[in-house]
């Protein structure tokens, strides 16, 4: 009498393997979302460090705490986050303008540093993402 043989093949395992891979995909997705948060923190840290400041402000200068106002926010897509600065100033007519727009894009009063800082931070942000995924998965 021959021993019972149980088939082990992709057909019999398909459903179980799919379930496991689906769970694994969820874990990787969540880990990557955490990694993006870590990358966001890196960018905020670097933008704070690169933000221009006035050491000897003139009389009447209103301090805006620009460097402290870098914030991140999420979107519906957890793998996408946005970093911006909430400091607002007003023009002569009283219209509100984000100070970051002036610093980055004004041709007469600008001190561009945001795009440069972002580009210079890409390797560090990528490392933060990978490190977080390694910890989580």
């Amino acid at each position: 009498m021959g021993a019972i043989e149980i088939k082990v093949n992709t057909a019999s395992l398909q459903s179980a393997v799919e379930d496991i891979l689906r769970d694994y995909g969820d874990v990787v997705y969540e880990a990557t979302a955490e990694g993006i948060k870590a990358a966001e923190k890196v960018l905020i840290k670097n933008l704070k460090a690169a933000s221009p400041s006035i050491k000897n402000p003139p009389k009447g200068y209103v301090k805006k705490n620009f460097a402290k106002n870098w914030k991140g926010k999420t979107s519906r897509d957890k793998l996408r986050r946005y970093v911006g600065n909430t400091t607002i100033v007003t023009d002569k007519k009283g219209n509100e303008i984000p100070l970051s727009n002036i610093l980055e894009y004004s041709t007469t009063r600008g001190k561009p540093f945001i795009k440069k800082t972002h580009e210079a931070s890409i390797d560090e942000m990528a490392r933060a993402v990978v490190e977080t995924i390694k910890k989580e998965v």
């Binding site: 727009n101 894009y105 041709t107």
Partner: protein
């Protein structure tokens, strides 16, 4: 040369109605004008030489505040922004964010629409 390329694209689409300047506007006052800057021109190297360059250009379309006080003026500004974006896209530039209103960033009584564009080229 990327400078002459972007200048030509803008001039072909807008000259003589709107003049385009690199870095800073000069000359007589105008209701509308463009100032563009090359913000980066990153190279991808092969054999220690640049093989591809990816350029990022910030095109700022300035329009006098008073223009948006009328419906006709607002339409003019919108159409102008559309013309600039189309001209860039038709000449190999990608414009991922379209035209964004960044306000009177120079505090001179002119609104500014920012059009960030990118172009990769073999060098």
């Amino acid at each position: 040369m990327i400078y002459s390329d972007i200048q030509t694209v803008l001039d072909n689409a807008l000259y003589p109605d709107v003049l385009s300047y690199w870095l800073r506007k000069t000359g007589a006052d105008a209701d509308e004008y463009i100032v563009y800057t090359i913000d980066s021109d990153e190279a991808t190297n092969a054999d220690d030489r640049p093989l591809i360059r990816n350029t990022n250009i910030a095109v700022r379309y300035y329009f006098k505040d008073s223009l948006i006080g009328t419906s006709a003026g607002r339409t003019k500004v919108q159409n102008r922004a559309g013309t600039i974006v189309s001209a860039l896209e038709n000449n190999g530039y990608s414009v991922p964010f379209g035209a964004q209103n960044v306000g009177d960033i120079d505090d001179i009584g002119y609104g500014v629409l920012l059009i960030e564009c990118y172009k990769g080229r073999v060098v």
